[in-house]
């Protein structure tokens, strides 16, 4: 055995160790799935606004259907999460399993806890203004999602992931401070407006998740694990 052989073996061992320790690529489909569901949810709501705008009479039922789109998406993601979790439990490494558990708590668990918390803020004992509660609710959710991505980036030592999520955080805070609003539809002459931070949040949860999923897959294919 000479220096070249020794170097080759060391590189080979490092590759295997990187694959073993930092490989979270098996979670890629989970992120893509969440992103696609959220994206379809946004599209469905846009289509809903368009249909309601062209309808002569807007029934209460139509409003309920449109407003329940978020919960339908939440339900689909919850069911899918358990399928992904069962699948990963069979083949995934400890890091992937821990990350999926964390994302389960962040995406599913936190949504319910925040809703209950905000319900009490708004209606119960505190009685805060509704719009303030909504902004707070979304802000807490965004912080948790950011925390998830940041933790993931740090755990797998991925600087690109950390930079990407920091950019989203900057955009969100910028739009929150700037109080920009964007028109997303019209219903019988009345504009449907969402805030810019809501748009950033939607992009993160849809296109951001899809990109993240494909990035994790690409990362494994090209680097064998660690960056």
């Amino acid at each position: 055995m000479d220096v070249n052989d020794a170097n080759k073996d060391i590189r080979f061992i490092k590759d295997i160790l990187n694959k073993t320790q930092f490989d979270i690529s098996k979670t890629w489909l989970f992120f893509v799935f969440i992103g696609v569901v959220n994206f379809l949810n946004i599209m469905a709501k846009e289509a809903g606004y368009y249909i309601l705008n062209s309808a002569v009479n807007i029934s209460k039922l139509a409003w309920y259907v449109l407003r329940s789109a978020d919960w339908v998406a939440f339900l689909i993601i919850s069911v899918a999460y358990f399928f992904f979790f069962i699948e990963l439990r069979k083949t995934g490494n400890d890091l992937s399993k821990s990350l999926l558990k964390m994302w389960g708590c962040l995406i599913l668990g936190s949504k319910i806890i925040i809703k209950v918390f905000c319900y009490f803020l708004e209606d119960g004992y505190v009685g805060l203004n509704e719009s303030f509660v909504r902004v707070t609710e979304k802000f807490i959710y965004f912080i948790l999602i950011e925390f998830g991505f940041l933790t993931m980036g740090i755990l797998v030592h991925d600087i690109k992931l950390i930079c990407g999520i920091t950019l989203f955080a900057a955009l969100y805070l910028g739009s929150l401070i700037g109080r920009f609003a964007i028109k997303v539809g019209t219903i019988h002459g009345n504009d449907v407006i969402i805030s810019a931070q809501d748009l950033v949040m939607s992009v993160l949860l849809s296109l951001g998740m899809i990109l993240c999923g494909f990035y994790l897959r690409h990362r494994r294919t090209n680097k064998g694990g660690n960056q």
């Binding site: 220096v3 020794a6 170097n7 060391i10 080979f12 061992i13 295997i16 694959k19 073993t20 069979k90």
Partner: protein
């Protein structure tokens, strides 16, 4: 460990890959297959050799009523791997 008495277990890339993959902790057969990108037959044969050499321990369990084989490194296997890596390191540094 010296250059002229490197154990035979390190002569195969697949065996080396399997040992390296197990350093972090036990793995199932399918996990090892995925990490090493090998076929069932080849991996099974190499893992049997490692088991025969006392490098690996095998545990057979049932998960959701399906048999699952988990492999882990023995203390001896861990020590041999460490010695091998030290040897590679010293070759690169020009001490051997």
């Amino acid at each position: 460990m010296e250059i002229n008495n490197i154990p035979d277990i390190f002569s195969s890339k697949l065996r080396l890959a399997a040992i390296a993959a197990l350093i972090e902790g036990p793995k199932t057969f399918s996990e090892l297959k995925d990490i090493t990108k090998s076929t069932d037959g080849n991996l099974g044969a190499q893992l049997s050799k490692l088991e025969g050499n006392g490098v690996l321990v095998v545990e057979k369990t049932f998960v959701n009523r399906k048999p699952q084989t988990t492999y882990g490194l023995t203390d001896e296997g861990r020590a041999i791997f460490r010695e091998y890596v030290d040897l590679l390191d010293s070759i690169i540094k020009g001490n051997k």
